[in-house]
């Protein structure tokens, strides 16, 4: 990874007797939007505050551009932070809020004026420049918070669930806006969220956290299609899983014996014969054309309309329930009681070692995760 910017080495933190972070090691490269994704209470905000300098780790080091900044006070780190509640200063106008960081640096008035105006233009806030935060809408407040942090060109910008207080439409709009701003400014961002949709759509790379540990790091595609364990598979989407046992390898395919017969998956060189695994597939990974392997013969039990897809619940003769996503046009013709044969190409199968110790993120009944606000 070239252009290395931030690395965390073995960061640990406990609050009282409760361990919050258990040896986090992580590198974030320049010019990327890096996401920390995890359920609430997983330690992601604490990790962010440690990077910002508002919280001291019990052990471990933080390196920024190769420099150890672990003991450097927050105000000397030059790391920006956008707060979940924005933390705008109610006694200052939009203009004054945004200009604050530059004024601290005692820059010439003319320069400050010009930069603030640029920044307010970039964030579409120029008409509101003389208003106080209490007079702004949620989306405008959010943009002031962004502008205020960006104007000093921090080496790194941290965002702590910045969109969680906005309604769904505005959130979508702000996601695009933040992506655009990141592209234009080239600033490195570390973004904390519990919203997997946000992470998958915005991140260049992301780390999934659970119970104070990083469970998996990768690009959104890797995380979604190659989850390393049950927790990740569950947290970033829905997955149909079956318990099984590796029975061998054949023509580069991993063979797994399950209650639904022999299933085949590509990759997975580090499995050994006889190993207990979980194998499955995402609801949208199926194909209705006849395939050679991983063929499931099922009966439709229920259908419902989703966002641009049809959700189909189907049961195998052995009593296994599957959730399938089909194109609306195909799915609408299906009715309960009808037989449905589908297959999953081996390259779209998900396999990971059975690990009963990792708790499932959210217990669900084969349905899509409820959309978190």
């Amino acid at each position: 990874m070239d252009n290395l910017i931030l690395s965390l080495e073995n960061i640990s933190k406990r609050f009282g007797a409760t361990p919050v972070l258990k040896g986090i090691t992580l590198t974030v490269a320049g010019n990327e939007i890096f996401f920390l994704l995890g359920p609430s209470g997983c330690g992601k905000t604490t990790l962010l505050r440690i990077i910002a300098g508002f919280c001291q780790p019990d052990s471990g080091r933080i390196l920024l551009d190769g420099q150890d900044i672990t003991g450097v006070p927050a105000h000397q780190r030059h790391i920006g932070l956008v707060f979940q509640n924005y933390a705008l200063w109610p006694h200052l106008t939009v203009w004054e809020n945004v200009a604050y960081g530059l004024k601290l640096r005692k820059l010439p008035e003319k320069f400050v004026h010009q930069r603030v105006e640029e920044m307010l233009t970039l964030t579409h806030l120029l008409p509101q420049k003389n208003l106080y935060p209490s007079q702004l809408s949620g989306g405008q407040q959010q943009r002031v918070a962004l502008a205020r942090s960006l104007i000093v060109r921090p080496r790194l910008l941290l965002l702590d669930e910045p969109l969680s207080n906005l309604d769904a439409n505005l959130r979508e709009q702000m996601r695009q806006e933040i992506k655009k701003i990141q592209k234009e400014t080239g600033i490195t961002m570390i973004y904390v969220t519990h919203d997997q949709r946000e992470a998958l759509t915005m991140a260049h790379r992301l780390a999934v956290m659970n119970a104070g540990e990083i469970v998996q790091t990768g690009t959104p595609l890797q995380i979604y299609f190659e989850p390393g364990n049950r927790f990740v598979a569950d947290f970033v989407g829905t997955v149909n899983l079956l318990a099984g046992k590796v029975s061998g390898f054949e023509t580069g395919l991993l063979q797994v014996e399950t209650s639904e017969g022999l299933l085949r998956a590509t990759g997975g060189g580090d499995f050994s014969s006889g190993q207990a695994v979980e194998i499955g597939f995402r609801p949208e990974s199926i194909s209705l054309r006849p395939g050679q392997s991983n063929v499931f013969r099922t009966t439709v039990t229920e259908t419902e309309i989703g966002e641009g897809i049809m959700r189909v619940m189907a049961t195998s003769p052995g009593g296994r329930n599957f959730l399938l996503h089909l194109p609306l046009e195909t799915g609408r013709k299906l009715q309960a009681g009808q037989n449905l044969i589908f297959s999953v190409p081996p390259e779209r199968m998900i396999v990971f070692p059975l690990s009963p110790s990792v708790p499932s993120a959210v217990k669900r009944n084969g349905r899509d995760k409820p959309h978190l606000p």
Binding site: A74, H75, F83, N85, L88, H91, Y100, L104
Partner: protein
């Protein structure tokens, strides 16, 4: 029924608040039936009065500086840092404001006098070559006592502001590169300013109108003492009216100014509670901090400690501590005719004032919370106005407005004392019952009505039981504060037969021999009563009790 309650409340406030204050106006501006500014301008040519005005301003300004220097750092330390014993100190530093400095002054004279405990101690330790005149002309002593009494107001106001303070506002500034000091100057202090101004204005008016302390220190060149003295010769010298007017206008201005500042400050974002309970300090720092706080506690409780010592001392001349202790002063409290009269009188006045306030507070709080009517604003303003009216001003107004009527305090002050005690504390009860009613969902009343209960029954069966704890707590506090009410008691009680406790303490303090000791014993008993009441009230009302100490 609502109309009945309204007319009763307005009648009471009109008669005991509006009328006496309005009475002052013609007296200050009319001479022989014609409008004149002569009386006001005569103030400016009277050098004693000018000096008193100046002294009073100096005193108030000094007290503000003193309370700021103690109160602000204290509030920051006690809210922002975590150390063992923090809760204890948070409560401890409220105590100094409980007892009027006028009682503490009696004890402090013993400590700060030329050959008082402090000088003797320092002389013995060879830290000073000769006694230091701590009390100076008296003004410094008064300022010290007022500061030690009033800094909890600063501490409480700043603490309250800090508790509502969104820490991320500071973190945002730090992430932009603001150092601690820059952060305090540009973010923290501006956001605390409303709380600070509120505290300053309370402290300023309080200090400006404190009658008891200068009386005990026998320092006459202060505004309240001049007003007090003016009452005796009010028929020949109208200066008293103008002085009271000056005091009233100043307090009203401060009150309005504070409200403006508090309301104008935009405060809508943030306010998330602090997730972390402040910095955890190292062992060493904790020890240092606790030592410092203990020292401050001892110093600020010195007036209280000194009256306790004084109340038990039988002989205390030219020694650091009393040379002989006894219960004699306490025996005297219960045997002297004067002290017994005082206790009985105060119990009587305060009980009636409490009942009056509970009834009025209930009525007005209910009306304000549950009824929109024309004149609602007026009722609200009238019920809250006593917050902005110093006791001495109202007492003076009573003295003059009711002079020559059957209520003349020179003949029998009982009615007026009860009235003034209740008027002075009414805002607290109105505010707490109002808040109580507001928090009760109106659906509860509607549910009762839908089951066939008439408004009276609903009030008795549903509302009353829900607000009784708060009401009782409020009543207890009114009782305790009335028992120890100083300036109005000193002004309105002329005849020994009607003296309340404060006036008895004042008279005793001025007597030679064992007078100050008996006065101290009476003060200690008052302190105990207050602590018991406070404990009882806080049991009933929980944390809401702090409402009684906020004044805006």
């Amino acid at each position: 029924m609502k109309k009945g309650l309204l007319s009763f409340s307005l009648l009471f406030l009109g008669f005991f608040l509006v009328y006496p204050l309005l009475w002052l106006l013609p007296q200050s501006f009319l001479s022989g039936g014609r409008f004149t500014l002569r009386i006001l301008s005569s103030l400016l040519s009277n050098s004693l009065i000018l000096q008193s005005l100046l002294n009073s301003f100096l005193l108030a300004a000094g007290t503000i500086v003193g309370t700021s220097l103690i109160g602000i750092p204290l509030a920051i330390l006690l809210t922002r840092y975590q150390f063992s014993g923090r809760r204890f100190f948070q409560v401890l530093f409220v105590l100094p404001m409980l007892v009027s400095p006028f009682v503490g002054a009696i004890g402090m004279q013993q400590i700060l006098a030329r050959f008082g405990s402090l000088n003797l101690l320092l002389l013995r330790l060879k830290l000073i070559p000769a006694p230091v005149p701590w009390l100076g002309s008296g003004l410094l002593g008064i300022a010290i006592l007022q500061t030690l009494h009033l800094y909890p107001i600063m501490y409480l106001n700043i603490s309250a502001a800090l508790a509502n303070f969104d820490r991320s506002a500071e973190e945002a500034a730090a992430s932009l590169g603001a150092s601690s000091w820059q952060n305090f100057r540009t973010i923290t202090f501006p956001l605390l300013r409303p709380g600070y101004f509120a505290a300053c204005s309370i402290i300023f008016v309080w200090s400006l109108t404190d009658l008891g302390t200068p009386l005990v220190f026998e320092y006459p060149q202060l505004l309240p003492v001049q007003i007090f003295n003016a009452i005796t010769d009010i028929n020949v010298n109208p200066a008293g009216y103008s002085l009271v007017l000056v005091v009233l206008i100043l307090s009203a201005l401060f009150f309005i100014f504070t409200r403006q500042v508090v309301e104008r400050t935009p405060y809508t974002t943030g306010r998330t509670p602090v997730s972390e309970q402040g910095h955890i300090l190292s062992r060493r720092a904790q020890k240092l901090l606790i030592a410092g706080l203990s020292l401050l506690a001892v110093i600020s409780l010195l007036p209280h400690l000194s009256i306790i010592l004084n109340s038990f001392s039988q002989r205390w001349f030219f020694s650091i501590l009393p040379s002989k202790y006894s219960w004699r002063s306490y025996q005297a409290v219960f045997h002297h005719r004067l002290t017994r009269t005082g206790i009985v009188n105060s119990l009587f006045y305060s009980s009636l004032a409490t009942v009056t306030d509970i009834l009025l507070g209930l009525a007005i709080g209910y009306l304000l919370a549950r009824w929109s009517f024309r004149g609602r604003f007026l009722l609200d303003a009238l019920a809250m106005a006593p917050l902005a009216i110093p006791g001495i001003a109202l007492a003076f107004a009573y003295c003059t407005a009711f002079s020559g009527t059957p209520l003349d305090p020179r003949k029998n002050p009982v009615f007026l004392l009860i009235a003034i005690y209740s008027v002075r504390r009414l805002p607290y009860l109105v505010r707490s019952t109002y808040a109580n009613f507001q928090q009760l969902n109106e659906n509860m009343e509607e549910a009762s009505a839908s089951l066939g209960a008439n408004p009276g029954t609903t009030f008795r069966r549903i509302l009353l039981p829900l607000i009784v704890p708060g009401l009782l707590a409020g009543g207890i506090m009114v009782f305790a504060f009335s028992m120890l009410e100083v300036s109005s008691s000193l002004v309105l009680a002329f005849r020994e037969k009607f003296f309340p406790i404060s006036k008895v303490i004042y008279i005793l303090a001025g007597r030679l021999t064992d007078g100050p000791n008996v006065a101290s014993a009476l003060g200690v008993l008052g302190l105990l009563l207050l602590l018991v009441c406070l404990g009882g009230a806080s049991r009933l009302a929980g944390r809401r009790l702090t409402d009684f100490f906020k004044t805006t």
